[in-house]
Symmetry: C2
Subunit: 154 residues, 2 copies
DNA sequence: CGCTGCCTGAGAATGATTCTCACTCTCTAT
DNA sequence: ATAGAGAGTGAGAATCATTCTCAGGCAGCG
């Protein structure tokens, strides 16, 4: 079995995921490695079904139940972030260092990311005012992206 | 059939809902009236199933499908607001004039409302910066309420 | 009062996610 | 390396909130 030599731009090698899992106390399995790798390569906001489809096509086959289980586990370990965007299914992305929120276009479905540190601060302040200890949050703005806004209200 | 005389504290009478519907171009039916009335009386964050149960118990029976259809319709007309709070089912509340966001306790499930006009402004600004025309948003903070926070981290 | 067309309700259908359980694999300790 | 214990996997069934279907019922308008 010829093994691909260079993994390419992601730079994430099997050994490093193995190490990552060990550090986090996560049992290593090829399925888990493949799921995490696929999430990272997918880029942004992929759903479980699509992830499963891509894995079945290009890599080792991984059961859909395992995809779900693994995503949940990775989320609990802070390696993956889950969002919903007003659809029925959840979407996943790699949880990188920086937190961000989302602008969801109601016309074309595009999801744009943004950061606004001042909002995060005010959230924290608002929470404290109510004696609430915030661990996480979700902020989504729904409306029309630049392209769709121009099309609808010229 | 003896009819209840005074509707009590809500102050919303049949005639006024009829008028409200007419003004909005909504066809009046007793089912729709009952659903809206039940949402208002429920107070906060009730789900469709519970609404259906209460209607079946105390008022006229309304089919579950009709409850869902009506909630969706009322939402489109801005009379009802929908949220999700990380659960599977949606929750509904009367859409009153003032907008608010939510603090969701991960321990006891309590949902507290808060307003922070400065956040709303910053959201608008962030959206504009990306050429995005925001129509609505959802902001939820997840963590521990005062009572649960004290219990867990004394 | 009598159409016309929207509204309703019971049950079936849908669809994303979770569960089940027999089997397999990882990890750790020999 | 090897074996045993326990955690992970996968196919399919189950769950369950929500939507769909369609036959029968009302609302609104003349
Ligand atoms: Mn994102
Ligand atoms: Mn609320
Ligand atoms: Zn768009
Ligand atoms: Zn609490």
């Amino acid at each position: 079995m010829t093994r691909q030599r260079a993994q390419g731009r992601t730079g994430i090698e099997s050994r490093s995921i193995r190490r990552l899992f060990r550090e986090k106390g996560i049992v290593f399995t090829t399925q888990r490695e493949q799921v995490l790798r696929a999430v990272i390569e997918a880029g942004k906001h992929i759903d479980a079904e699509e992830l499963h489809r891509r894995l079945s096509a290009s890599r080792q086959r991984v059961g859909l139940a395992t995809v779900y289980r693994t995503l949940q586990m990775l989320r609990e370990h802070g390696l993956v972030a889950e969002s919903q965007f007003g659809e029925r299914r959840h979407r996943y992305e790699q949880a990188e260092g920086r937190h961000h929120d989302h602008l969801v276009c109601l016309a074309c479905g595009k999801v744009q990311e943004f950061e606004e540190p001042a909002i995060e601060q005010l959230q924290e302040r608002a929470a404290r005012r109510h004696g609430f200890a915030a661990l996480s949050h979700r902020l989504e703005l729904y409306g029309y992206c630049r392209a769709c806004g121009r099309r609808n209200t010229p």
